[in-house]
Amino acid sequence: MTDQTDRAPHDAEMIDVRPEGHVPDTVANAAATPDREQPYGALGLKADEYAKIREILGRRPTSGELAMYSVMWSEHCSYKSSKIYLRQFGQKVSPAMKKNLMVGMGENAGVVDVGGGWAVTFKVESHNHPSYIEPFQGAATGVGGIVRDIISMGARPVAVMDQLRFGDIDAPDTARVVDGVVGGISFYANCLGLPNIGGETYFDAVYQGNPLVNALAVGVLRHEDLHLANARGVGNKVVLFGARTGGDGIGGASILASDTFSSGGPTKRPAVQVGDPFAEKVLIECCLELFRDELVEGIQDLGAAGISCATSELASNGDGGMFIELDNVLLRDPSLTAEEILMSESQERMMAVVRPEKLDAFLAVVAKWDVETSVLGEVTDTGRLVINWHGEEIVNVEPRTVAVDGPVYERPVAYPSWIDALQADSASSLPRPTGNAVLREQFLELLGSPNLADKSWVTNQYDTYVLGNTALSFPDDGGMIRVDEETGLGFAIATDANGRYCQLDPKQGARLALAEAYRNVAVTGAVPAAVTDCLNFGSPEDPEVMWQFSQAVEGLADGCLELEIPVTGGNVSFYNQTGTRPIHPTPVVGVLGVIDDVAKRIPSGWQDEGDNIYLLGTTSLELDGSAWAGVVHDHLGGRPPAVDLAAEAQLAQLLHAGGDQSLIAAAHDLSDGGLAQALAEAVMRFGVGARVWLGEVLERDGIDVATALFSESTGRVIVSVPREDDVRFRGLCEGRGYPVARIGVTDAQSGSLEVQDVFTVSVDELRSTHRGTLPARFGATIGE
């Protein structure tokens, strides 16, 4: 919950007022001047929220306390609109889901036992609004924030991935945002030495002015190294270390410096934080050494709401009391007021709780890494968070009232007025091609369309090799990292969200995102184990958006229960809308899987001559919300494909068994663009062609050729199987009763993808079509 990220933008950022000779507002002063007017509205607090704060304190808040409550009670930090729905993730759980869960929701990141004494921690988080205002720094600090969450669990970060959604690829502003966001991620994650192993890049006009920049990080730890951020042990020191505190990332704090407003004050501070990945890299190594040498009780990262958040959360999660001398905070800018220091979101900072007898050793390690540090105060048993400034008490609160017991809203929910008409407008009535020339043309049009086109322009800017444990990365369906060099134990991870499906039906859309991320992990040969999510929606004050949100959460929570994999943590991002037009609901779902030995991983493309190609699953006429409907007909309507999660689980078991017995040479998930796109990608992966026939599938499923090629029915995967393993593989499918059809054979000599009696396209033409789209808009892909 400590991530610095987007919250409802408010006007306060634009007003900056600096009184002459600012005098801090003390607790005594607040008690003595109950009627002083306070700018709570400009800080984003509602009148009833302000009244509640006065009731809690039994007086008006000081300006410092108001600063803390306003940021901690913001939508982003308090989850006040989403809390009543998110509870389902904790309620809809079976014993099986708890079995390997070491840390669940509510901590910095969830932790999953992956066996052999190892654990994996992972989380996805949004950084949407900063990334639109300043794409490079917004995206860079998004990576930085999620990585600090991972470190604070005691884990070494080992991989990142990003889920990016931009406006229409041809819109004038898109290239600016794409270039900045990709450059920022490249700059920050490469400099941290973390491989970027996957992610998503989508373009849709609904994200114009509201790009989505979600960042996911994964860390690895031994069970005994697990740490939780809490302030226990009266007398233990509270230490701030890392970068100095500056004026960056302060939202409305400057308002608090005065009780009179005027524009044009002397300073304008950027509301977007600025990242220094070198400082963060040093901080990672420093924290890992502090954990290894057992010099800290806990470490909390500083993100959204900075010191306000770290102190109140540490105290709430511990013995309940803390005393801080704010004068001890090391500053980049000595003119900062106390309120600004409390709210600053300067990056690359951490707060540790240290036993007094270990303080010298702690300071020695921090000095070794040239990291600056200062002792701010200590843990107390008063039950109060007390903060002094220049010897006077400026904050005296019960920490839980700041960090935990924030407002909870039951926002109005309304069934969208437009959705019945949208669902009635099915793509099945659109003309489907029957002629071979048109089928070929539409296949290539899809292959080169922005969302199905090759993303090397993006991914070539990311380091995939660093740390030496990357077993799979893009363009494979999931990323995979080796955890244990001795045994080969590893994890796979994939994320997915289809905003078009979610617009048609948010509940079904969330289930579809879950099903696809789950399947993307399964095709690598790993066993799906846990879920993280980043729920990107429009304004919660719009009842139709709240309906979409409630539906999506319900769909995801029920789906996870059905698949028996727990949600371990995540993030909600509201207010992704310009004016009254919200984005498509975009619940990004990340699934983590475990594999005993990464040597058994399954790639997404064909490598060998003469392997049999099988299509697992059945196909029906499901083109509503499909890439085909969008690209060829500019159409969005109907109901998204059906999902059978029991079948998905069965399919995952089949793939795992096949992978474990080394019967499967390649496996590739069918999703956007259907079978045609999957075949093309499997060919292009290693440049090995194939001959494919559709006859058996057309007859068995009762469909036409266009439906076979472009439908997006779920539960489907293409696999290639070496001839010598054919009998065993078929036995595996028949034993489980999973629908299977042999649809082709790999052909390394032909240099083409031939769909018999329909079309033939050379590997070169596939690649030039697939690779040309992004470079045509954003500049050449280097080395191509």
Binding site: C191, A599, I782, G783
Partner: protein, 231 residues
């Protein structure tokens, strides 16, 4: 054989370099930038990364680290020293090898599997190759463009100090497609691509034979080990 790998603040591929030494049969020894202690190693690797965040110039600040004085003395006395990527930049900044590095010509960070031709197979780090041999190892850099004045380029070309050249694609605009250079003695080698990322089957570049099976980088590390054994 003990091979030291120096960790600077911001080093990223130090653990990868240690793994490469181990897989080649050597004993990796972690060295710290702030020490004046080479711990009795017989060869040294300056690994890749963004030491000091590339502030000032890539490799510039690290080249003034305490341990670099010892590295320079050892190199001048003939100890094998390999600089990879950021380590290559440090070697240039420390004047152990000729040339310098600037921002990639296209201004972007680039990661790709890079073909190279071995131009000099006589150095301590390349003697396991044959001259003219093509190898593929990963490349990943933002400031990888090798430059030097015309006279220097002429001299190193003439005296066989170009160790590796890019083949097919020049990924960063380096002069004469130069990917790596050696000092005149052949004990100090620096290159921009990363041999330590192509040492283990399953985690290297793709090859025509199989996914991620490229191990061309291993020869760098076996070269130095075998030459030491032969002495």
């Amino acid at each position: 054989m003990r091979v030291g790998v120096v960790t600077f603040p911001g080093s990223l591929d130090d653990r990868d370099a240690q793994r490469a030494v181990r897989l080649a049969g050597g004993e990796p020894v972690a060295l710290w930038h702030g020490d004046h202690d080479l711990k009795g190693v017989e060869a040294i690797i300056l690994p890749g990364g963004f030491s000091y965040g590339d502030y000032l110039r890539a490799g510039a600040i690290a080249s003034f680290s305490p341990i670099m004085a010892d590295v320079v003395d050892a190199a001048n006395a003939g100890m094998p020293v390999l600089g990879i990527c950021n380590g290559f930049q440090m070697l240039a900044e420390a004047r152990l090898i000729p040339g310098a590095h600037t921002r990639n010509a296209h201004q972007q960070f680039i990661r790709r599997d890079q073909r190279l031709v071995v131009e000099n197979a006589r150095t301590d780090w390349t003697n396991g190759f044959t001259e003219g041999q093509e190898i593929t190892i990963p490349l990943k850099n933002a400031d990888g463009r090798f430059i030097a004045d015309a006279e220097t380029v002429k001299r190193i070309e003439g005296e066989g100090q170009v160790a590796f050249r890019y083949v097919g694609v020049n990924p960063n605009g380096s002069m004469d497609d130069i990917a790596g250079v050696t000092n005149a003695r052949g004990n100090v080698v620096g290159l921009m691509p990363h041999p330590e990322h192509a040492v283990e089957e399953g985690f290297g570049p793709d090859t025509p034979a199989a996914m991620s099976s490229g191990v061309d980088g291993l020869t760098f590390f076996t070269s130095v080990l075998e030459r030491a054994l032969a002495k």
